[in-house]
Amino acid sequence: MQAIDIKLLRDFRRLWLQAVAIALVLACGVAILLTSVGMYKALSETRTAYYERNRFADIFAQTRRAPLSLLAEIARIDGVMSVETRITGAATLDIPGRTRTAVGKVLSYPEDSDPLLNLPFLVKGRFPDPISTKEIVVNEPFAIANGFKLGDSFSANLRGQKRTLTIVGTALSPEFVYTIGPGALMPDNEAFGIIWMPERAAAAAYDMTGAFNDVSIAVASGMTTAPVIDALDTLLEPFGGLGAYDRTTQQSDAFLDAEIKQLKGMAAILPPIFFLISGFLVSMVMSRIIMLERSEIGLLKAIGYSNTEICLHYLMLAALIAVVGVGVGWVAGTMLARTMAWQYAQFFDFPFLIFRVSYWVYAASGLAALLTTSLGATQAALKAARLAPAIAMQPPAPPRFKRSFIDDAMAHMRLSQSTVMILRSLLRWPLRSFLTSLGLALAVASVVSSTFINDALTEIVDMAFYQTNRQDAMLLFADDLPEAVLEDVRHLPGVLQAESQQFHAAILRNGHLTKRVPVESRRPGNDLSRVLDADGNPLDVPANGVVLSKRLATHLDVKPGENVDIEFLTGRRETFSVTVTALVEQHFGLGAYMNLEYLNALFRQAPRVSTVNITLDTDQSDALHAAVKNTPHIAGIVEMNENRRSFENTIEENIVVMNTIYIVVAVLITIGVTYNAARIQLSERARELASLRILGFGRGEVSYILVGEMMLIALVAQPFGWLIGAGIAQLMTSAFTSDLYAIPLVLEPSTFALASLVVLGAALASVMIVRRRLDRLDLVSVMKTRE
């Protein structure tokens, strides 16, 4: 090994704490890049493979009842590659050992062949015997959540027919990667299951012999779905078609897609920030090293080392830091990606997970890290190369301070000399002070932009469960019933309050802008399920017109007072032009609300209900569930408490993990920035500070200059950090908003306080480590050392 390389390694060893502080920031960037790209690739590749292998359909449609003869016509639609018709239906399930009602979605399984589309992936057992009326396959998560084994049975209420069903197999399906039951906000695998039943048995149960009520279509490659959807809607219209839709509106895929997009966004936004910070840190440290090694550089030149060799020597030092950062980042990133993959595997129901972070991601992250550190070091290295040897070996000229109005102001304020030294040094190197402050501001922003989600979710939960959906439970009916059913519901055990609600699938149009949403209608004065205006006050849906959620109104570009066309997909499939009367705040889904009487008047029918919201005497909950299981018209019961608990649990787990990661990241950035800045301060000012000690300043007074300057920079960074954090939070809320949900921007003072506490604490700890060096300063030798 050449002597200059030995010098390189020894320099690195001497600087190892500073190098590690930088390397860890770099490692964060590399790890987050690996994790987000790895997870993004894993999810999207798994999805693609799964959809392809199990023939996930492109277009979906439901209808009330269409004759099987229509199948041939659908198949003739231009662009259709394959069609599958099914019978689907709802079932309330009475599971042994479970007092609460569960809800099942029944899907028919073809008699003589495998399904052409949406092929279930058999996990255990076998598919049901085509002529059996009992045998079923259930989705694997439902079986696991309820502890089912093959051969277990439970009782089901299928449109008023009670049947005992026996599980002969468990399966997963590309249709149900993310499964949410009717009326629920989050997956609850214990309360909602998918049931594959032989076609013949399903037809008998739902009175669908010779008919179907569900169509899936795969379009030929290269074809767009829109014309096929139009043609299919035309064919299904006479048979009560509820409007065909493509994958973007298919619930499971929409959720999966939203997640994949988030990961992609994360991969694009976060790593560059870390790379930038580490580039800046490298540049800061390298500039100082080169300042300190001026005479060594001069010597190397004097004995014949070329500019290129010297430049490379310092670039290699930066590269070594990058190598450590990349190494740590690769290990941490691989582990983090695996952990996240495991979390996703819990969250999404895939039969397999294609997890491989391809080599190019490793290579790209390594290259990016190497490039940013080299770029950070380039300026300093070039400066080293450009130093004229004769000048390099002389001590540098003292930094030039000039009097300015600020000095006059300082004099006016009668500040102590130590404070003046601090302020003057900040002003003497404004760019450095600014960049150090910016680095710390980014650390603050990292905490703000991740922890605000806590408050946002608290707000979502408060709004969804305490302000708008205040009912204890929702009773779902298989078909709309006359409003008189409300009286029957009030007589069910434990029911204290009952209010009606009606849902109609509809397409809202304003010019070329359309959105498919359920229109919800209710009676004025309803207290359990409410909507809120912009100020958070409950709003009674006016007697006429429609109330829209803000996001829906924005999508359709309508304002209150303007009209929107509502094409109802149910009943007579009529279209009405209705005035938008008000806008409401809503975080889940896109809502449209009408007065129950007004809606039924439009339909020219007596008021009907689709669901009844109830409050419960919890002591009688078991009796209610027992009654529900035996009531033919009830398709299911959704308990809001369960819903809320499942929502909170899922979110909490993810939030704790994410917050921990981002707080660690903020601490690493803070240490990286503060420790390095303080070490540089110390090395630049060692003589100055030692002189003060010799003049009689105490340790505390001298360290005040060092600690004071760093902490002042850290304090100045706080408001900028809050602002940047709020900006990133704002970006995140708009990036994460989809038709499925919206994250409100809720910024509580506690979020800012936590961020500042974390960053100021870490900054103080880092600078105190450097302070210990100051305490150990050997006064005599410092004064003797030639700069």
């Binding site: 050449q2 002597a3 200059i4 030995i6 010098k7 020894r10 320099d11 001497r14 005479s295 060594e296 001069g298 010597l299 190397l300 030149k301 004097a302 004995i303 014949g304 080392y305 070329s306 500019n307 060799e309 004229a388 040897p389 004769a390 070996m393 000229a397 030039r400 030639r786």
Partner: protein, 235 residues
């Protein structure tokens, strides 16, 4: 007549530090001969170090011309000067300028790694009497020892010229004498043209020739008829 190694004509050097202009050299004409040990003597700021830097290819003259062994250095490129230093010049500085993170041996290897025909680092260190201190770091050595490492580093490339800037400036008398002994020994053993800068008038007694500097100019040149051994010098 001995062969001329260095020749300068009207060398001028102006330093601009901030707003201040300093005339370090104001027209120096000089010839240095092969195998000669020359002492440049003068007070601080008289321009000795500046001249040495220009002769050593560390700096360019503002005006005037410089030749080494018939080759003109005046307008040589940076790359050319680097090669010139690497192949021909050995430097010894007042403050040793050792790399603190390298041992004595490794400091010498810095030079032997890049020069075309070096002697082994161990041989160079033995020549300066440090054969038994090769694996010590600079911080573990006395000032005299450090300066001897610097000399070993300078001679390891078998330079044609050895340029020493105040080599005893940071040393006490007895340690300084040891260093001067080494310099004379090298000069005699290898015939290396040696230039020693000093403001210590005593040291002139060991030189073949003494050049006096004053205000950036040569004020006097004197040939020593009798040279004394460094051991006889005291200050």
């Amino acid at each position: 007549m001995a062969e001329v190694v260095f020749k300068t004509e009207g060398v001028t050097k102006v330093y601009e530090t901030g707003d201040v202009k300093v005339y370090a050299l104001a027209g120096v004409d000089l010839e240095l001969f092969k195998g000669e040990l020359t002492v440049l003597l003068g007070p601080s700021g008289s321009g000795k170090s500046t001249l040495l830097n220009i002769l050593g290819g560390l700096d360019h003259a503002t005006d005037g011309r410089v030749w080494f062994d018939g080759t003109e250095l005046t307008d040589m490129s940076d790359r050319g000067l680097t090669k010139y230093r690497r192949d021909h010049v050995g430097f010894v500085f007042q403050f040793y300028n050792l790399v603190p993170s390298l041992t004595a041996r490794e400091n010498v290897q810095l030079v032997t790694d890049v020069s075309p025909d070096p002697m082994p680092a161990e041989e160079a260190l033995t020549l300066v009497g440090l054969g038994n201190r090769m694996d010590h770091f600079p911080s573990e050595m006395s000032g005299g020892e450090q300066q001897r490492v610097a000399i070993a580093r300078a001679i390891a490339k078998r330079p044609q010229i050895l340029l020493c800037d105040e080599p005893t400036g940071a040393l006490d008398s007895s340690t300084g004498v040891q260093v001067l002994e080494v310099l004379r020994d090298i000069n005699e053993r290898f015939g290396t043209t040696t230039v020693v800068i000093t403001h210590n008038a005593e040291i002139q007694r060991m030189a073949h020739r003494v050049i006096f500097f004053q205000d950036g100019k040569i004020s006097e040149t004197r040939v020593n008829k009798t040279r004394v051994a460094p051991s006889e010098i005291v200050w």
